[in-house]
């Protein structure tokens, strides 16, 4: 006890607390210094960081850049276009959040006051407005000799907006209007000085003659004016399920698979393009090249292709509409004349997003997407792959043919299709159907391979009898299925792996006999 006397303890406590206080003091000082050193990046002075890619990409087509003032330089035009689009972007954003962010960068001092007043008024009344513009058709009116002032008329701007009050949706409104705009070049930004909405102008309608291979005649799809019944299959290469255009892309594999499909006397395949995988709004050329290879291969084997866009995409917010539009436009217009393409399927089973992503949002998005795709490829058909026949009535008057996926009891097939045919006069395609050959601890009531064969036998008989267009799910059993598809749990995954006509070892399952009729 004498060793640990009070004095030593006091000493130790004193020394330790002294050290502790010092450490805390140093930490505090360093925090303060840290804070003082933080701030805007120096590069932000140059305004280099603002790019419209992946922000806001409505379609912009300059009608004419002839003007009585100075000759417009292509570079300046690009800058003006960029800053003008940003002026819309910050305006939309300010209406949505009732915040002033960015407005000072794209509106001159007098002009921004008007927007601030709007923000104030809407904040007071708790109004928020989500909006986006879809199309701009500017025509240059005037560019001053010193290159500091520009006036143009942005014809028939298509605006889509959703109005909320107290966070409750009041309405979704689409409007088309023409704007006359004057912009000034101020410290590196083109800023809006005057903006005036004027009445929309009438455009002469496009009179492009369609020379498409596939057309719609009543409730039939025709190929060179002869009735064509889709007998098809959904296709992923065996080892790259839901990743057709990934690293294991191999034309030899695909070519062999196409031979199998062709030998089964099927005429159509359905493939899938993942939104992120293709680079969102900034499409990767490498992916387009791969898609071209597949399409060329299909053409050489005389198979037709339904290309499904926007797989794994589920954000339908107005903010991203223009980005998805450019995504679709780039892909679709690249292949606008490709003879192998039968149709563009805008989205696989979009009705599954109704609950989480707001039904009206999804439907509005699809409706506008139809326009975008039809404008980009007038010679191809357009459809939407609904997950059941009841939902397939949506937008039925807008698509070229109605597609639905059938996973119900066999006896309902004819009834469901007939019910749908009452509502729409368009051709109907059963775009997916199938049953997994999986019976195990996760799925005691499932079918085995024989039962799967029986299922397909019965289905094919019905297709034949009623002359229905069909596309089965799917050619292969898959060794791997990504979590995004069915879920991460084994009972979800196992099922999804066994829908094929050919098993993972390449052996044809009994159902293969009934891949066609």
């Amino acid at each position: 006890m004498t060793l640990i006397n009070n004095r030593n303890i006091t000493r130790a406590v004193l020394i330790l607390s002294f050290i502790l206080i010092n450490i805390l003091l140093l930490l505090g000082i360093s925090k303060v210094l840290d804070f003082l050193n933080s701030g805007a990046d120096r590069i932000s002075m140059l305004h280099l960081e603002k790019e419209t890619i992946n922000t806001y990409l409505p379609k912009v087509v300059w009608e004419s850049i002839d003007n009585p003032g100075r000759v417009m330089e292509p570079n300046t035009l690009k800058t003006i276009e960029k800053d003008y689009l940003f002026s819309w972007y910050v305006k939309n954003k300010s209406l949505q959040d009732n915040s002033k962010a960015g407005i000072a960068d794209y509106y001159t001092q007098n002009t921004r006051q008007n927007l601030y007043n709007t923000i104030k008024n809407n904040t007071k009344n708790e109004i928020t407005i989500e909006s986006t513009t879809l199309k701009h058709n500017p025509k240059l009116d005037f560019y001053s000799a010193d290159g500091q002032l520009v006036v143009f008329t942005d014809k028939n701007v298509v605006e889509f907006q959703k109005v909320y009050q107290k966070k409750k949706l009041i309405a979704a409104v689409q409007d088309t209007a023409t704007y006359k705009v004057m912009m000034l070049l101020e410290d590196g930004f083109w800023r809006v000085r005057h903006l005036q909405k004027i009445e929309k102008t009438t455009f002469p309608l496009d009179t492009v003659k369609s020379n498409s291979v596939f057309k719609i005649k009543g409730d039939k799809i025709t190929k060179y004016n002869i009735d064509f019944t889709i007998k098809g299959i959904n296709y992923y290469p065996k080892n790259s399920a839901w990743d057709t255009f990934g690293n294991s892309f191999n034309t030899d594999t695909i070519s062999k698979d196409f031979d199998i499909i062709k030998n089964a006397k099927l005429n159509t395949i359905r493939i899938f393009i993942q939104y992120d995988d293709f680079g969102k709004a900034d499409i990767k050329q490498e992916k387009l090249d791969k898609l071209k290879k597949i399409l060329d291969l299909a053409e050489s084997k005389r198979l037709f292709v339904i290309v499904t866009l926007f797989d794994f995409y589920s954000d339908y917010t107005l903010e991203n509409w223009t980005l998805t539009h450019r995504h679709a436009e780039k892909i679709v217009s690249t292949f606008r004349d490709h003879k192998a393409i039968l149709a563009w399927d805008l989205k696989n089973e979009p009705n599954l997003d109704f609950e989480n992503r707001d039904k009206s949002n999804v439907l509005n998005w699809l409706e506008h997407m139809i326009t975008v795709v039809k404008e980009s490829a007038p010679n191809h058909l357009v459809t939407i792959g609904w997950s059941n026949s009841a939902e397939a009535i949506h937008l039925a008057d807008k698509v070229d043919f109605v597609s639905y996926h059938f996973y119900n009891a066999i006896e309902d097939l004819v009834k469901e299709t007939k019910n749908l045919a009452v509502i729409t006069t368009k051709p109907i395609v059963i775009e997916e159907f199938g049953v997994p050959s999986y019976k195990g601890i996760w799925n005691l009531r499932g079918s085995n391979e024989k039962e799967q064969a029986q299922y397909h036998k019965k289905m094919q008989a019905l297709f034949k009898k009623n002359n229905l267009a069909f596309m089965s799910w799917t050619l292969y059993d898959f060794p791997h299925v990504p979590d995004q598809v069915a879920g991460k749990w084994p009972w979800q995954k196992k099922r999804q792996k066994r829908f094929g006509f050919i098993d993972v070892n390449g052996k044809k399952k009994p159902s293969y006999l009934y891949i066609n009729h």
Partner: protein
């Protein structure tokens, strides 16, 4: 049991009825636009009125304006539904789209226009540029006037704007009509250089003047001359080169600071340069006299734009021959005193070179500058150990050869 069935039955009938009447009523809702005016004047009150037979449905009016979008709540009175446009929108011009909205549906839509207010004091923004141009009538400065109506709205199309400009004795007034928000005019330079003053006027509102500088055009060819104190190649005096007053094609003196390069080619085709910048059209260059007889061919350029005549000037030798002497067992060579054209000593710093030659082979070249007209060379026994050397002495462009001198290699 029976009781509950009755209750359920009655309840469902009541519900059905309620629903049915609601449906029936919804069908009959009619809203007729009363406001026939299509145009409103900015700053005045804007009211949109509907006649309605509805008692339950209260639609809202959604407004899309150039500078914003908003939702209006109407006031209902005697079957009239009135919407008042907020002042912030009513004072800005342009088309306004409206959508009458009830239960997420647009039940009527239309547009009206707000036009500029003529009674407000007009204001004008002017943009003039480029702010400096060249004389001669090919270049112009552009005046862009943006008149607004006092509420910062662009005035009506075809509003006349006076664009006035003054240059020397001329005052010009033009009337331009606005189109696309602006009225504009190109004002061309004329032959003389000077200042163009521009101002505008619209509906009794006038602006301040703004000026554009008309600079002289690019130089045309010019001539050069020289002056010097004497024509001796003394390596000391300076020859001054100067240009004539350099003018552009329209007789304007070129801008001060125009760079003129004088290019000098000597007897041996070596090129020398000197530069000058113009003041009041004249550029001067300075050139040190050579220290040996030479002749210079001189020509001046304004690079890429204009050139001068060329001439040749001569520099005469200041001496025909000079003296030198050996002393200290030939170890010390004294050159000079060098005398100039009137027997004065040459300026300090005249270069003298001595080539040391042994059996017709050049051993070394020595060089010194004169001081008080004299140079001394020391032929050190440590380095020059041979018995015989010969020397070639050059200064002021003249070379003299000595006879062979004898040396004692053992001398310390």
């Amino acid at each position: 049991m029976r009781k509950t069935i009755y209750i359920v039955f009655l309840l469902s009938i009541a519900l059905l009825l309620a629903f049915g009447t609601l449906l029936g009523r919804a069908k009959k809702e009619v809203f007729i636009l009363d406001t026939k005016t299509k145009f409103f004047i900015a700053g005045n009150e804007v009211k949109i009125q509907f006649t309605s037979n509805s008692k339950t449905v209260v639609p809202q009016l959604y407004i899309i304006h150039s500078y914003g979008k908003t939702l209006l709540v109407g006031t209902y009175k005697n079957g009239k539904l009135t919407f008042k446009l907020p002042e912030l929108y009513a004072k800005k011009t342009g088309t306004v789209s409206w959508f009458l909205i009830a239960s997420e549906k647009t039940i009527a839509q239309g547009i009206f226009e707000i036009i500029p207010n003529k009674n407000r004091q007009t204001q004008i923004e002017n943009y003039l540029g480029p702010r400096s141009i060249l004389a001669g009538g090919k270049e112009f400065t552009m005046m862009v006037a943006v008149p607004t109506d006092g509420l910062d709205n662009p005035v009506m199309e075809n509003t006349p704007v006076l664009i006035k400009n003054q240059f020397l004795n001329n005052i010009t007034i033009d009337t331009e009509k606005t189109k696309d928000f602006i009225a504009w005019k190109n004002i061309f330079s004329s032959r003389p250089s000077g200042k163009i003053l521009v101002s505008t006027e619209c509906k009794n509102s006038a602006t301040k003047e703004i000026e554009t500088e008309v600079y002289p055009n690019i130089a045309s060819d010019f001539s050069i001359n020289y002056s010097r104190n004497h024509d001796f190649a003394d390596g000391n005096q300076i020859t001054t080169l100067s240009t004539s007053v350099i003018k552009d094609h329209y007789n304007n003196i070129v801008s001060d600071g125009t760079l003129v390069a004088f290019i000098i080619t000597n007897k041996t085709n070596i090129i020398l340069k000197t530069f000058g910048t113009t003041i009041n059209g004249i550029a001067t260059g300075q050139l040190l006299h050579p220290d040996h007889p030479d002749f210079y061919t001189i020509k001046a350029y304004i690079t890429g734009i204009a050139e001068s005549n060329s001439f040749t000037i001569q520099y005469k030798a200041i001496i025909a021959k000079f003296n030198y002497a050996f002393s200290n067992h030939n170890r010390t060579l004294t050159v000079g005193p060098l005398k100039s054209f009137m027997n004065q000593l040459v300026p300090d710093g005249i270069k003298v070179t001595v080539k040391v030659i042994h059996e017709n082979k050049l051993i070394e070249t020595l060089q010194e500058d004169t001081s008080n007209g004299i140079v001394k060379f020391y032929i050190s026994p440590d380095f020059y150990k041979a018995k015989k050397y010969r020397f070639e002495i050059t200064t002021l462009g003249i070379t003299q050869k000595s006879e062979i001198k004898n040396y004692d290699p053992n001398q310390q």
